[in-house]
Symmetry: none
Subunit: 368 residues, 2 copies
Amino acid sequence: MKTKTNAKSAVSLPLNTILDGDCIERMNALPAESIDLIFADPPYNLQLKGDLHRPDNSKVDAVDDHWDQFDSFKVYDKFTREWLAAARRLLKPNGAIWVIGSYHNVFRMGAELQNQGFWILNDVVWRKSNPMPNFRGKRFTNAHETMIWAGKTETSKYTFNYEALKALNEGIQMRSDWVIPICNGGERLKDDNGDKAHPTQKPEALLHRVMVGSTNVGDVVLDPFFGTGTTGAVAKMLGREFIGIEREEAYRKVAEKRIANVRKFDKEALEVSVSKRSEPRVPFGQLVERGMLRPGEELYSLNGRHKAKVRADGTLIGDDIKGSIHQVGAHLEGAPSCNGWTYWSIKRDGKQVPIELFRQQIRAEMRN
Amino acid sequence: MKTKTNAKSAVSLPLNTILDGDCIERMNALPAESIDLIFADPPYNLQLKGDLHRPDNSKVDAVDDHWDQFDSFKVYDKFTREWLAAARRLLKPNGAIWVIGSYHNVFRMGAELQNQGFWILNDVVWRKSNPMPNFRGKRFTNAHETMIWAGKTETSKYTFNYEALKALNEGIQMRSDWVIPICNGGERLKDDNGDKAHPTQKPEALLHRVMVGSTNVGDVVLDPFFGTGTTGAVAKMLGREFIGIEREEAYRKVAEKRIANVRKFDKEALEVSVSKRSEPRVPFGQLVERGMLRPGEELYSLNGRHKAKVRADGTLIGDDIKGSIHQVGAHLEGAPSCNGWTYWSIKRDGKQVPIELFRQQIRAEMRN
DNA sequence: TACGTGCGTGAATCAGACA
DNA sequence: CTGTCTGATTCACGCACGT
């Protein structure tokens, strides 16, 4: 078993294992601020007539419908409050959580997330391409489920691999509605009788997008309602570490076997497109220091309307303004801000050369 | 003014009028159990901090109206509790309600609906075909809003025109996700300055589907946050009766004028919102997410001369180039462009399988 | 008249490093 | 912690205008 030691508590994490027992107790026994991402698909089996089974297994008294309904919400809210609080304690300050649910429980989860100080980043709709039809014709086909993505706090610097998701979507930024088929066919796990091993197995495609988008390689992902281990399987494929918690032995067994058969993708395949933001910063002054630009040379604006002179300290001087490439550009355009790197060019051999090219040259040298 | 007398209270309803003032007080002054359907688009309680600019430096005209400002969740919850209770009193025993919101407020509304004994029938996702992008690349494009449809009680015999909706959807059962454009163009109401008359005007297509689906001709529809009167306009077109409540005089004036110009049974309005038939775009990344291709697998070019490896984000990596299936294909062929779908194949059981086949498979699923 | 181009804009909880 | 400064970031439409 691979473990990670948490700096704060010096307690090791049971990485890539499935813990048994009650998820709240199990979470409370793990070190605080040790988890990068939590993915949670909690049970929402209330309001189902006939077999009313509460999350805490308490007995439901035979009483009138209204009281019963109110009581079951109360019990469900308590359960939600407790597992979310336990989850929140585990998250690193910059950690985030995904929860998934349907209209039976997702409003209660969303409200409680907000109450506890999580900061909702998006609600994401999983739009099922092959939902179960509504057989009675009394309602709309229930063709989606809702996920909520939230940072631990309002100021958490959550992970969002914008460029990778954009690449997944053929160059267009990823939207909050995802079209993904429900889990069936070969991916759907069966028990020894050939019946489905779990009633609500989530598709790996869903978890793939969640993890590519909101974790990095090596991150620790916790799933407190592990079921048959979709979270663990995808985490392993993608080079993330997982911790699962699952109460039912039958599910744990299926999940263990499933994950053992998963192969991790090649290192090269796991590299994803990265944002320009993660490139090292290059001060404009370096272009002057390195002699790429000479003090006194003139820069021309993108639209050709403005020019400014380079000074020895890497600032510019225009007709009525001195300052950085960004400040001068913003002032000349009357804009709130300006990216000087893409705004200014210089004339070389009669041609306009964007200064951005010089920056890229310096960055290429830095990588060597 | 057309009025209807309520059997129970013998008080007449102010049909097809817009009431001013506070919606809670106004609702409390109307007779109990007199309304068939309520459609409510309350303030979302957006919590916007600073200004937001587009990449071209233009400023986003944010919803910063006073009516959307609340001091805390506690204050917002009290507001929600009170207007929902007032609304519930007005509904006939078999009445129903629709509410619409975003992740800022919809979880709190949904939980309160359940707490008050409303019975949720569906949550319906309005998938915007043309949402505002996420300009900073920090989150998913917020491309949908959520509506909740609920009966007054668990046993309410709510109206659901199954066949009409099926007909609207080309003979296929209507799903819980509706693709409808945001309201702009000629439908978007302007004030005397040519600015939008209301920051959050809803499209008539949305209300059209709501009313066709969950009311009958002659039903009374109440909208306590009437705004510029989309609910009233569509109700009139479809031969339903409406009651609007709106606090802002400017909105009431626009709504009055708008509704006066509406003709009943406008044929054009009945035809909106039927889905367009064009082949949907399939991002190559979906083949990876869905496990049809495995990150690290190799693709082979049409002519067999080149190969490239698939990465987890749906981009390819070749000998000296990374990018989309199209970009890498074009680079390897020295061509200005390349259709990666027809260019690349994969080896399966010793045979070359064009990736185009996988795309066709996904499209077939999407047509369901 | 038909078509192509450019511009405006939409319910948005939209930055991060460094001093 | 606060203030300052760098510099990254957009998709689908409708409409006006020009050829």
